[in-house]
């Protein structure tokens, strides 16, 4: 994933906060995803408004040492069409 690229949550995706993190549901492809940390939800909530992925991670207050694991999770979410690059 490219940190300089802006991303967005697919408009067909809804997020439901839970104690462990969140449920993400894609109404289009009917995929349900479990976000296994509340911080990941916070990143997703920043995607639409921040100019880049890097800015979204920073706005969510994620320390740089944790970015690798977040990028991996975001990649999974991209492959299931939950998030996509904004153009």
């Amino acid at each position: 994933m490219d940190l300089a690229t802006p991303y967005r949550l697919d408009p067909q995706v809804s997020l439901r906060p839970e104690e462990f993190g969140a449920l993400a549901y894609h109404f289009g492809n009917r995929k349900l995803s479990f976000l296994k940390h509340p911080d990941l939800l916070r990143v997703l909530e920043q995607l639409d408004t921040e100019p880049t992925l890097e800015a979204a991670l920073e706005a969510a207050g994620i320390e740089r040492t944790r970015w690798v694991s977040f990028l991996k999770a975001l990649e999974t979410l991209e492959s299931s069409e939950m998030i996509r690059a904004r153009t």
């Binding site: 449920l23 549901y25 349900l32 995803s33 479990f34 990941l40 977040f70 999770a73």
Partner: protein, 395 residues
């Protein structure tokens, strides 16, 4: 448990505890739930979980159904599994689907297919966020119709044809695994493939009228192993995560291996009663009613029953078995309706751990000792049910 059919779990920032531990303690709202819209049914399947047949005069009105959907939307329950009875017998069926669709509640509904003609199929194909599963219990009419009624196989196949012709997309063909259809697994797969459909196979439960047909229908130990091996090689076949008791045979089947009753799933029945899962329509597992003050939300979050189901598990008689972590003691509903305690092993335990107690129960019943098995809270069977009825196909 009925679980999301398409589930992915990204492995992000280390979770503090395994997800299943959170599930066992109950979520803020169900992941999904089953909602039976009516007890009316044109069929009288011998294993019907809800003993359906006749409509109940107290069934939720259209407005009340809309109220339930509003609540599910507020709770962000993203989708419901609608069933019955035959849900398409409700005159407001399409209105309810439309209301759900426009309120961010996706629907998957189960049907016997009788009422899906070409017109209905086109109407269904035009809707978003809709999934359909057509039930059959035999790949051939002879195997199917003994359980579901004469003509029911032909009705289901006709419905599948209409859905395909209308371009509905990949609907689901849903089978309950029985002693009489286990040898047809490959045929079921071929049938689903021929319609561009997804195959779904779920576990038979001794619930509803299934109490009476269980001894004849439930798979043998050898058949359970056969099914397990077949499923392991076919991760694309859906199971509603209902065979977690088979995980005690070795490698776990994909999905959630736990009982989700009152924790991540539940059932709303046609009169608004909320039960722990679709397989336990019995007073013992009744948590409340959506018509009560506070509605469904309060039942889910505060009912005594659901609170107790979210307590740590008591492995009971299974505590010393090395497979408990894999099978979690099996299915609560299956135990209950054959007369076992919920802390006993599953009646279909692959190690046969329940056999001794089941034999004792059978002996007691044979000796005339009164040992009435638990009966469903409400039986809506038509008079004389116990025999499947013929289906009259609509042209």
């Amino acid at each position: 448990m009925p679980a999301p059919e398409s589930l992915i779990a990204p492995q992000p920032p280390t979770a503090t505890r395994p997800l299943v531990e959170h599930f066992k303690e109950g979520l803020a709202a169900p992941i999904c739930l089953t909602w039976e819209l009516t007890y009316a049914c044109n069929l009288a399947c011998v294993h019907c979980l809800s003993s359906s047949g006749r409509r109940d005069p107290r069934e939720l009105s259209t407005e009340e159904c809309y109220g339930v959907i509003d609540e599910l939307q507020r709770l962000q329950v993203f989708y419901v599994n609608i069933g019955g009875g035959e849900p398409m017998l409700r005159r407001d069926f399409f209105e309810i689907l439309g209301y759900a669709e426009s309120h961010d509640v996706g629907v998957k509904f189960s049907t016997n297919g009788t009422y899906i003609d070409a017109t209905a199929a086109r109407r269904l194909a035009a809707m978003d966020y809709l999934d359909i599963q057509v039930s059959i219990d035999g790949a051939s009419p002879d195997v199917n119709d003994v359980v579901r009624g004469e003509g029911s196989h032909a009705a289901a196949i006709a419905a599948m044809g209409h859905l395909r012709d209308a371009g509905f997309g990949p609907f689901k063909v849903s089978i309950v695994a029985t002693r009489h259809n286990i040898d047809q697994l490959d045929e079921f797969k071929a049938l689903a493939d021929s319609f561009g459909a997804q195959l779904r196979i779920t576990r038979l439960r001794p619930s509803g009228r299934g109490v009476d047909s269980w001894d004849d229908l439930h798979p043998t130990q050898d058949q359970q192993r056969q099914l397990y091996r077949w499923l392991l090689g076919r991760p694309d076949v859906l199971t509603g995560d209902s065979f977690f008791h088979l995980s005690a045979l070795g490698e776990s089947l994909p999905g959630l291996n736990l009982c989700g009753a009152g924790r991540v799933v539940c059932l709303i029945d046609p009169v608004g009663d909320v039960y722990a899962c679709p397989f336990v329509i019995h007073d013992e597992f009744l948590a409340g009613n959506v018509r009560d003050e506070g509605g469904f939300t309060r039942v889910w979050r505060e009912s005594d029953l659901f609170t107790s189901l979210r307590e740590p598990d008591n492995p009971g008689a299974c505590a010393s078995c090395g497979s408990y972590d894999a099978c979690q003691g099996g299915c609560m509903a299956s135990k209950f309706f054959v007369g076992l305690d919920v802390t006993d092993p599953d009646p279909e335990c692959v190690h046969g751990a329940a056999d001794e107690k089941l034999a004792a129960l059978a002996a007691a019943a044979g000796a005339g000792t009164p040992s009435p098995l638990p009966r469903p809270a409400a039986d809506h069977s038509r008079p004389g049910a116990g025999e499947p009825v013929p289906v009259v196909l609509r042209r």
